[in-house]
Each structure stands twice: as C-alpha cells, then as structure tokens.
C-alpha cells in the first residue's frame, strides 16, 4: 500500500472509532436521563442533547440551541444567580464549581426545577473560556416533595397550636362560668323573698344562659379532643351498636322506638369515636321524631369496593334541602332552644370523626317523611 492509501485507511479507522465512541458516549449520557450541552464559544456553536430539549417539553427540531433560548426559558428571577455563579467559576479559573438549581418554563407552562453542573473545558490565552460543557438533571419531583413536606410540617405545627388554644380557652372559660352559676343560684335562694318578679326573671335568664354556655364550652373541649388517641384497629360495629343501644335503653323504651338493624361488616377504625358517631346519630333520630308517630330507626351498611357505607334512617320530622349541609357546621342549629334542646355540636363532632377516618358523612331527607344519615369508612 502506498503512504497515501495507508493514511486514508488510518483515517477511515479513526473515523469509525470516533463514531463508536460518540455512540457509546451518547448512550451513556442519555441513559442517565440528564440533558447535556456543549457550547463552543469560539466557533459560536452550541449543541443541546435531545434529552435536554425534552426536559423543557420540546422535540429536537422545536428548539434552537443557543444561550438566548435558555435565557428565555429560565425564570427571570433565577438569571442573576446563574450569572453570579458563572462569574465566580470563571474568575477562579474553574476552582469554584458551578452547580446551580434553577427553574425553567416548560413548553406546557408549568415549572421545571433543574440541577445544572457546568465545566469550562477550554480557555484562551487571555483567560477567557472558549468551550463549556454542562449537564442538566430534572429535579422537579424532588423539589415538589420537599415543598409538600415543608408545608405539611407547617400545617401540623399550626394545628397543634390551635388544638392547644382551644383546649386552654375552653378550660379557662369554665371557671368564671362556674362562679356566675354558683352565685346566681345563691342569690335566687337567699334573696328569694326580697326579689320582685322582674329580678327573678333576670336571674332566670342569667342561669339559663350560663348553663347553656357551659354546655357549649364542654362541647368545644370534646371537639378539640377528637382524634388525640389515634389507635386505628379492626373493630366490630355490631358490638359498638349493641353498647350504644344499651346506653340509650331507657330513652328508646320511653319513646317507644323501633330499631331495625342489619349485620354490619367489621372495619378499621377508632372504637370510641365510631361509638360517638352512632350515639349521636341515633339520639338525633329519636330527638327529631314526629310526636304522634312510632319512631322507626333503621341501621345498616352497604359494602362497596373501597368503602363501607353505613346508614341511620329515621321516619322523623326531616330536614329541608337547603339546610342539609349547614347542619354539619359547628353550633349551627335548625330549631329554637325551646323546641328541641341541644348545642348544635353533635353533627360537627361526627363529621370531624368520620373525616379523621378518611371517610365522608352526609344527610338526605324529605321533610315530614324522615331523614337518612350516611357515612363511609374506607375499607
């Protein structure tokens, strides 16, 4: 072979090796899911890998590789950080590394968090960079998780604060209340003969209001205590129901209530709290029954794919459609204190408990015919 032929052959082989190396290199880089760029400042040429462009939601042909492009896509508030870090990297001749977390606008409009590492690989005689390569990794998921975790921590701390506040407030409110009640009672007793009718009426109102307030404060305290002992375990609603009906035995007998129960499936939950829910719903069904009709209360459950749906159905006075959601608000009542006693906390209580279990509670009703209360517990 002549020298020229040999050189041509060598050239061919080198080109093949180079091509192989390039393919191997691309495989490696693409498989790390990092995008990379190669910026030849001297020749004003920039190369962006397809993976890099994909990070921002663009196909290879949709984005022109240039500094103008990334400066357009980056969040403008993050630009100064990039320039500062780049300056430091250059001035220290590469000793201070450039690694930076920055935000970019995805083609579809949402935010992408990018971790970028850059290296200056060629310098000119004047100490200016002439070639820069860099890798970019999408860390959006990690960042989102971090932000969520931080927010959750904030919420938990706030929640604890509120619980404490409600507890202390309720507790401290009880004391002056007790003073009012006790001294009003003393006054009514000891000054009975010296008080006129108006004064007795005033005292009657004071006592009534104080007792009412005491009930409300106790109810609030109980409400804040819900969920403190968070021990979820397998519980048997049939046994719970049995205990509740036992507790309500005399009430049910007095009002001549008929109870129809279906067998209930076992669930994962908090025993005391679920008991509280049944107690509340059944008491309400009895309380709001029609005066001249035998109260019939039906209790059962429907097992679905992901949840168990319990129901407590009555044939009582019913609830107007407009108020079906309102009744679950704390202290919200539908009737005068004189017609039906109560603090209006019961259903708010139930809602908090059910939501603690990850379920939902709601009511359906036909006024004058009856109401049905449903609640779900995740299976």
């Amino acid at each position: 072979m002549s020298e020229v032929d040999q050189l041509i052959q060598e050239n061919k082989e080198l080109k093949a090796k180079l091509r192989d190396k390039e393919i191997l290199f691309n495989h490696i880089v693409e498989s790390t899911f990092s995008g990379y760029f190669d910026w030849n400042i001297k020749e004003k040429k920039e190369y962006w890998s397809p993976t890099l462009k994909k990070m921002f939601g663009y196909e290879n042909h949709e984005l022109y590789s240039s500094p103008i492009t990334w400066q357009r896509l980056i969040y403008q508030e993050d630009l100064p950080i990039v320039f500062d870090q780049m300056d430091a990297h250059i001035k220290s001749r590469g000793k201070i590394p450039f690694d930076c977390k920055m935000r970019f606008h995805h083609k579809q409009g949402f935010r992408v968090w990018i971790f970028c590492q850059v290296k200056i690989v060629e310098w000119n005689e004047l100490g200016r960079p002439t070639r820069i390569v860099g890798s970019l990794t999408d860390i959006t998921d990690i960042k989102n998780i971090q932000e969520t975790e931080a927010y959750v921590e904030q919420l938990e701390s706030r929640n604890k604060e509120l619980q404490q506040f409600a507890y202390v407030a309720s507790h401290d409110l009880q004391e002056p209340l007790r003073t009012i009640i006790s001294f009003t009672e003393h006054m009514s007793e000891e000054y009975k003969d010296r008080l006129d009718e108006t004064a007795k009426t005033y005292l009657k109102y004071i006592t009534g209001a104080s007792h009412r307030m005491s009930e409300l404060v106790k109810g609030l305290l109980d409400y804040t205590r819900i969920g403190k002992n968070f021990k979820i375990k397998k519980i048997d609603p049939n046994k719970i129901l049995e205990a509740v009906l036992q507790d309500l035995h005399s009430l049910l007998e007095n009002k001549n209530v008929k109870i129809e129960i279906e067998k209930l499936p076992k669930i994962n939950g908090l025993e005391t709290e679920i008991r509280s829910v049944f107690m509340n719903l059944i008491s309400n069904a009895v309380k709001y029954s029609k005066k001249d009709v035998t109260p019939i209360i039906k209790i059962g459950a429907i097992k679905d794919v992901n949840v168990v749906k319990f129901f407590v159905e009555d044939n009582g006075i019913g609830i107007e459609k407009a108020y079906l959601k309102r009744i679950f608000l704390i202290f919200q009542r539908l009737h005068n204190k004189n017609e039906y006693e109560g603090t209006g906390i019961g259903l708010a209580h139930c809602q908090k408990i059910i939501e603690l279990h990850g379920g939902k509670i709601w009511a359906e009703s036909i006024p004058n015919l009856g109401s049905s209360f449903f609640f779900t517990i995740p299976a």
Binding site: Y205, E320, A322, Y323, L334, H335, K337
Partner: protein, 135 residues
Amino acid sequence: MNTKQNRILLIDDDEPTNFMSKIIIQKADENSIPSVMQNPKSALNILKNESINIEEIPDLIFLDINMPSMNGWDFLDEYKDLEIHKRKNILLYMLTTSMNDDDDVKSKKYSCVNGFMVKPLTVKSYSQIVNKHFK
C-alpha cells in the same frame, strides 16, 4: 295631641334578648310600641299577607342575624322582594353580637337594610335611631 306611634318589630329567637330589647325601647321612646316574633318564617308570612292594615305594618324591624334554621340573611333573601315595600317604607336594622367585617359588607348588598347594630340594644343606641328617623 296625637303623636305618631312607632311600631317596632323584633325578629329574634332569643327570649332574654327580646325581653330586654322591649324594656329598652319603651324606656327610650314612649311612642315606640315593640312586638316580638321568635320565628322569622312566621314574620314573613305576616308581611306577605296582602290584607294586612297599613297601620299594622311595622315602621322599623330589628332583625337578628344568628337564628337557627332560617337566619337573618335567609330572611332578607325573601323579604327584599315582598310587595309590602310598595305600600310602606319599612326601616330595617340588622342586630349582631359581633362587628364582623363580612357582615357589614354583606348587609350593604341589600338595599332594604338601613344599618347594622351591635347587640344588646341600649337606650342610647335606640335613641339615636329614633332621633334619626322618627323626629
């Protein structure tokens, strides 16, 4: 000489409040005649009745906000469209236990509401209304 009587209607479910409001109103102005309705629905039914005499229609209504079942806002939703407004101009003040900013903004949306007052009614606060509207 016949001075005009002012018929005051109190719509509030709370008995002690009504008891006191009546005393205050009569103390502040001898020409004011208070009457009480604990159920806003009943009040609406009376106001809807077309055969009601014009002298029986109240001159001023004190409306409590926080009532069970139909509250003050629910009442206003029905009250504002009544025919009775064509026969007589009825003053209406909303009574509340707290000066909640939201409530004030909300009450401005109803043109039939003349104002907003904090409970309890006092001789002083009621006198201000009497001087403003009835003198």
